[in-house]
């Protein structure tokens, strides 16, 4: 234990904790997306509905903006909130009235001029009135809570939905540079804090303020001089409260950040648990987790200390002012015309004064966590989404499956001088020119990292190209609505990903309205039918955790079936069958031919046998096209492809 070096600790904090310092050394492989922007949450970026909410220890204008945005979410429920406030008002009033009415009722009991019977009658009446007041109070306080539960949950649901929607719109660059767990923490831990605040604090703050105003007003009525003595301490309250508040706000922000870091680390280790086991890395994982957990505790202690002392400090400051008013009041009694009864009543109110003060300051703790959480949520909401479609963007559809209002396309894909870099200055694709006629099969060949996957990633606009243009049926893809573009390109990705749910649902992901027969047909095309049939519940077998109970080859077959069910006129197969054994692959081939018929297909494969039949083979090297032609042509050429191919043959 304790073998973690200082350097490593710093790295961990930077990586999982402080996102703002996430600008890594930054070099990126040619094969994949990198960090285009240094540091995820850099400078201010205009966002919808509010200024950027960078976590910086809470500038007042940020706080205000955050509160405003939260309030905006109440929106539709504004009337309910008004009703809640009305309830609070009534229940506060009944509270006061309840204790106020007790005095005349009791005084009546000892009134000398009444008979016992009269006294009992008036006692009964008094009790009935009290019961009425109490009832109103109980009903109001219940209604107010009941309403607020609904309001706060509505707000939370809406924020969570908005956040999720936003996350869907974030460009891949964002996802590539942020740990999943930290984002998840915003959905749960941060929003939980907001919920806590909405559930309780709003009402309490309102009733606290009411009580405060009421008490102060009564104090002024009884004796303005004493009231001023009490009020004099208010600047002290404000100053001390502000000081503590500032500290705790800062620490609460870092507490939520550290919580996100812990979440991030957990998510990554839980997802990669099997690799950890294989490498006996448990010890290190535990140590690193312990470090992050300790760090969280340190920050929690600081934040909660400052949040937690707010109550006692402020509450007891008001005790000081109670002492002051008692002293001054006592002196006034002796020297001027204040009477004893007046003093008693006044000091009672002065005591009352401390209740809302400590109640209000107790709430600060909750408010600060909530604001820190809300800011983290809004920061994500203010992130720049994928480039929006231009207003005149059009929709496209396949000729076979026409959609109203969409332009049918044949599937011609042209890349003109396409240049692209994930990291500025590190070009991954250099002036690529490719023409794929409708229905043609184009294969990309080249060593790992030559840029094959990148080409497909720019065709469906996962990433935006810098120079050159990509045309589909002569239309620049930037002029096509992104959703329409992507739904017309079916992809089988290199990394196989499945969702929890049944096998059927996973295949249907490719076309949501597909019938069961179509699902089976697609599975048959992908040669997945026979293994699915052998699963315990066939197509209704539930896949858990990314299909952990399937072999890699089976997962790939499901991925192919998922693409096969879609009617998209353009198909991209990125190493679609790399883990499928060759015998099965051979069976798939027939299905694949059917799949690729009438579709423009881009194939990426290392097994040259898979690409041999392509209409056009493009050989890439360091992001450039170095050879192109059919299999025979390229072999005749005797260049790189020939080397690759014969190299493979020799090995066999």
């Amino acid at each position: 234990m304790g073998r973690l070096s200082e350097e490593r600790k710093e790295v961990l904090l930077r990586r999982y904790g402080s996102i703002s310092a996430a600008a890594g050394p930054g070099g990126m492989g040619p094969g994949g997306p990198g960090r285009r922007r240094p540091g995820g949450f850099g400078g201010p970026r205009p966002g919808p509905g509010g200024p950027p909410g960078a976590i910086d220890g809470g500038k007042p204008q940020n706080t205000l903006a955050t509160i405003n945005r939260l309030l905006a979410y109440i929106g539709r429920d504004r009337l309910k909130v008004l009703f809640v406030f009305a309830c609070v008002l009534v229940s506060s009033l009944t509270n006061m009235a309840g204790s106020y009415i007790l005095r005349p009722v009791i005084n009546n009991l000892v009134a000398v001029d009444r008979s016992a019977e009269e006294k009992i009658t008036s006692l009964v009446i008094g009790l009935l009135v009290m019961a009425g007041i109490y009832l109103a109070g109980v009903v109001c306080s219940y209604l107010q809570q009941r309403m607020m539960v609904g309001v706060s949950q509505n707000v939370l649901v809406k924020i969570r939905e908005d956040l999720f929607r936003k996350v869907q719109k974030l460009p891949l660059e964002y996802h590539d540079t942020h740990t999943h767990g930290d984002l998840m923490s915003r959905f749960t831990n941060d929003l939980d804090a907001v919920g806590e605040m909405l559930n309780q604090t709003m009402v309490r703050v309102f009733s606290g303020v009411l009580m405060l105003i009421g008490t102060v007003a009564l104090m002024f009525i009884i004796n303005w001089l004493l009231a001023i003595v009490t009020i004099i301490t208010v600047p002290l309250f404000v100053y001390v409260g502000g000081m503590i508040g500032q500290q705790s706000r800062k620490y609460f922000a870092s507490q939520q950040q550290a919580l996100g870091a812990v979440n991030g680390y957990i998510e990554e280790t839980v997802a990669g648990q099997k690799v950890i086991k294989v490498f006996c890395h448990e010890g290190t994982a535990i140590e690193e987790f312990q470090f992050l957990s300790d760090d969280l505790r340190k920050k929690q202690m600081k934040a909660q200390f400052f949040g937690g002392i707010m109550g006692p400090v402020m509450g007891n400051l008001s005790q000081v002012s109670y002492a002051l008013s008692a002293t001054v009041g006592g002196i006034l009694c002796l020297t001027s015309r204040l009477d004893l009864g007046g003093l008693t009543i006044f000091t009672n109110y002065s005591r009352e004064f401390s209740r809302p003060v400590s109640e209000l300051s107790m709430q600060m703790n909750i408010i600060y966590v909530a604001l820190a959480g809300a800011e983290r949520v809004f920061t994500v909401m203010d992130e720049k989404p994928e480039i929006a479609d231009p207003p005149d963007a059009i929709a496209i559809c396949s000729e076979a499956d026409r959609v109203v209002g969409a332009r049918p396309i044949k599937g011609e894909v042209v890349l003109n001088d396409v240049t692209f870099a994930y990291v500025p200055g590190k070009t991954v694709l250099k002036k690529i020119n490719v023409t794929a006629k409708p229905g043609q099969r184009i294969a990309f060949v080249g060593s790992t990292g030559a840029g094959k996957t990148t080409i497909t990633n720019v065709i469906n606009r996962f990433y935006e190209i810098e120079e050159g243009e990509i045309l589909i049926d002569g239309i620049n893809i930037k002029k096509i609505r992104k959703d329409s573009l992507r739904s017309n390109i079916a992809m089988v990705l290199q990394d196989t990903h499945l969702f929890s749910g049944t096998v059927r649902e996973n295949i249907r992901y490719g076309r949501l309205d597909a019938t069961d027969e179509q699902v089976v047909a697609a599975a048959k095309i992908a040669c997945a039918h026979s293994f699915i049939e052998r699963l315990p519940q066939g197509y209704d077998t539930v896949l858990e955790g990314d299909g952990a109970n399937l072999s890699q080859g089976e997962r790939q077959l499901l991925n192919i079936a998922r693409a096969a069910i879609s009617k998209a006129p353009i198909l991209i197969l990125d190493e679609a069958t790399s883990s499928v054994d060759t015998r099965t692959e051979r069976y798939i081939e027939r299905g694949m031919d059917q799949l690729m018929k009438n579709r423009t297909t881009f194939v990426i494969a290392h097994r040259l046998s898979t690409v041999r039949n392509a209409d056009l083979i493009i050989v890439l090297e360091h992001g450039e096209v170095i050879e192109e032609g059919t299999h025979e042509e390229l072999l005749k050429m005797g260049g790189r492809y020939y080397q690759l191919y014969t190299g493979a043959v020799e090995l066999e």
């Binding site: 990554e268 997802a271 858990e544 099965t584």
Partner: protein
């Protein structure tokens, strides 16, 4: 509950001192009015004058400052205790998860484990903090006021005693109803977490199929369910307030009625009645706080139960019964003796059936077979990632169950089919294999895995930061890093589970070549799709539907094994037509 004592113990002093500090504040609250009455009785009425009043005033201010110190101290120790408790619990829970076997891991969704480690623990932490800060205060006030009430008028105090058991029942009932509702709520939170996590992991699939709206619907459903279960739970909890207030009000009314009659009859003064009503208020106010604590605890108890579940999960694969924990893998001999295996007990079909073979130290063995025939399952038995159901797996003639897991797995390196890189630099990822590896060593093994070239081409080289899961690398690059990572372990047995599927043929050949040259003494098992990958190995094991259908060298199998020659022909065919 005994389990949790060890989280209390290190912070025991804070657990005790915190409430003690709180008592200072409570005492102060009682003393302050007394001091005031002194000002009135002695200062004003008794005529001791201004100096006395000022002295008392100063005493009051000092008392207030003491109270402040008490409050601040109480807060400090409560926080110290609760965060300490939670931190230790969190670390232990994480440790427990690290002990999980592959089977255990498959049991929980990651989303659920994440909720348990963060949200559930936060609930418990908050409860402890609240308990410590109010623990003595509310009951203290309660008992004090009860005593005062009895002293004032025992008969009237009986009214309060009548109400209290009723209230206790009500609170108990509310709590019993709320507890399962809170459990459901936390489960729904798991669901939200799981959907979010899956969505983030699969974001490329989502985007390429334009399934954002579908995902949003899915999320919306889970989100709404969370909302509904939360409302359902809170709806029960908020009943507490009206029940308590009603009880308080009814008691007040009863006290005023009975007391009023006594006053009318001349058995009691109105001042005593007023005081009595005040005490009733205090009693019920503290009762309300107590009940609030209890109710909040029901949420924390639901969380505690979920944490207990993880602790109670039986780790089905441990080395506790290992007979020879000191043994290390020295030669790299592997033997399977009548091995049967399936993942789930209630599945009828065996994944592996009656597997028998021997692999000698230093041999290179290929495993070939169709998709889903059990190749990966077979090799995962060697580093004991799963246990056999029947038969035994021996490494260096010792049953794998008799090694300590660490020694076994350090001796057996495996590159999983679904391999993962972690966020961090390339170098950090490679060092997983050997934490103390020097740069030269790292370069050398990266070179063997054919990774040095592309790593060096990055501007930051080995210090290039990888995103989570190595998203910023191509599939082939990732695989080569995973291989290099395993090589750095320098194990006696190395297993490659289809680990070069995304690597081009030439590179793959180079990787294999370097294995032969640089790892002569290492036993190597290669699962492959391409016959070309295994054609010149010492021995090929052909699997078909969970059974071994052939073992031998290429030539031998071509003659004797039908499945093998079929696979061979399927691959050679194409070459002929080319």
């Amino acid at each position: 509950m005994r389990r949790y004592w060890k989280y209390v113990k290190p912070y025991l002093s804070a657990f005790i001192i915190g409430p003690v500090f709180m008592i200072v504040e409570v005492i102060g609250e009682v003393v302050m009015p007394l001091l005031l009455s002194k000002i009135i009785d002695h200062g004003i009425i008794g005529g001791r004058g201004v100096p006395y009043i000022i002295t008392m005033g100063i005493t009051m201010v000092l008392t207030a400052l003491c109270m402040m110190a008490g409050g601040v101290g109480g807060a400090y120790f409560a926080i110290e205790a609760s965060t300490g408790f939670a931190n230790d619990l969190r670390k232990d829970l994480f440790k427990q998860i690290q002990r999980f076997s592959f089977k255990n891991i498959d049991q929980y969704s990651p989303g659920s484990l994440i909720t348990r480690l963060t949200n559930d623990i936060t609930q418990i932490q908050n409860m402890i903090q609240m308990l410590l800060r109010i623990a003595l205060r509310a009951p203290g006030m309660l008992i004090g006021a009860l005593i005062m009430a009895f002293v004032l008028n025992p008969r009237l105090a009986l009214v309060i005693l009548c109400v209290m058991p009723l209230l206790a029942d009500a609170i108990f009932l509310i709590m019993k109803t709320a507890f399962p509702l809170f459990s459901t709520m936390q489960r729904k939170l798991d669901a939200v977490n799981t959907i979010t996590q899956e969505n983030l992991t699969n974001i490329r699939v989502v985007k390429s199929f334009v399934r954002e709206p579908y995902e949003e619907e899915k999320f919306k459903k889970a989100n709404t369910e969370l909302k509904e279960s939360t409302i359902k739970a809170l709806k029960v909890v908020i009943l507490n307030m009206p029940v308590m207030i009603t009880a308080m009000n009814l008691t007040t009314l009863a006290v005023v009625w009975f007391g009023g009659n006594q006053v009318i009859a001349g058995n009691m003064t109105s001042g005593v009645l007023t005081a009595f009503v005040n005490y009733v208020g205090q009693i019920l106010f503290s009762l309300m706080i107590v009940s609030m604590i209890i109710l909040n605890s029901s949420r924390s108890l639901a969380s505690l139960k979920r944490i207990n579940e993880v602790f109670a999960t039986e780790i089905d694969l441990t080395d506790e019964k290992a007979l020879d924990k000191g043994a290390i893998v020295q030669y790299g001999k592997i033997e399977f003796k009548g091995v049967y295996f399936k993942y789930y007990k209630n599945n009828e079909k065996w994944v592996l059936e009656d597997i028998n073979f021997v692999i000698n130290p230093g041999e290179t063995v290929g495993i070939i077979g169709s998709t889903g025939c059990g190749k990966s399952s077979l090799v995962q038995l060697v580093p004991r990632l799963y246990d056999t159901d029947r038969g035994e797996v021996l490494v260096d003639d010792v049953n794998v169950k008799d090694y300590s897991l660490e020694n076994l797995r350090n001796g057996v390196g495996i590159v999983l089919q679904k391999n993962l890189l972690f966020s961090g630099t390339i170098k950090e990822n490679l060092k997983w294999g050997d934490e103390d590896a020097s740069n030269d060593e790292i370069y050398r093994w990266a070179e063997s895995a054919q990774a040095h070239g592309f790593i060096s081409s990055f501007p930051a080289g080995y210090d290039t930061e990888l995103g989570q899961g190595g998203v910023n690398l191509s599939g082939g690059q990732k695989q080569r890093l995973c291989i290099a990572r395993a090589l750095l372990k320098k194990p006696k047995i190395l297993i490659f589970d289809d680990s070069t599927s995304a690597v081009d043929t030439v590179t793959e050949a180079k990787i294999r070549e370097s294995f032969e040259n640089e790892l002569p003494g290492t036993t190597k098992i290669i699962i492959a799709q391409r016959i070309s990958s295994v054609i010149d190995v010492d021995k090929i094991i052909v699997l078909d539907d969970g059974k071994v259908t052939g073992i031998g060298a290429h030539e031998e199998l071509m003659k004797s094994c039908k499945v093998y020659s079929e696979i061979y022909n399927s691959q050679m065919d194409k070459k002929v037509t080319a």
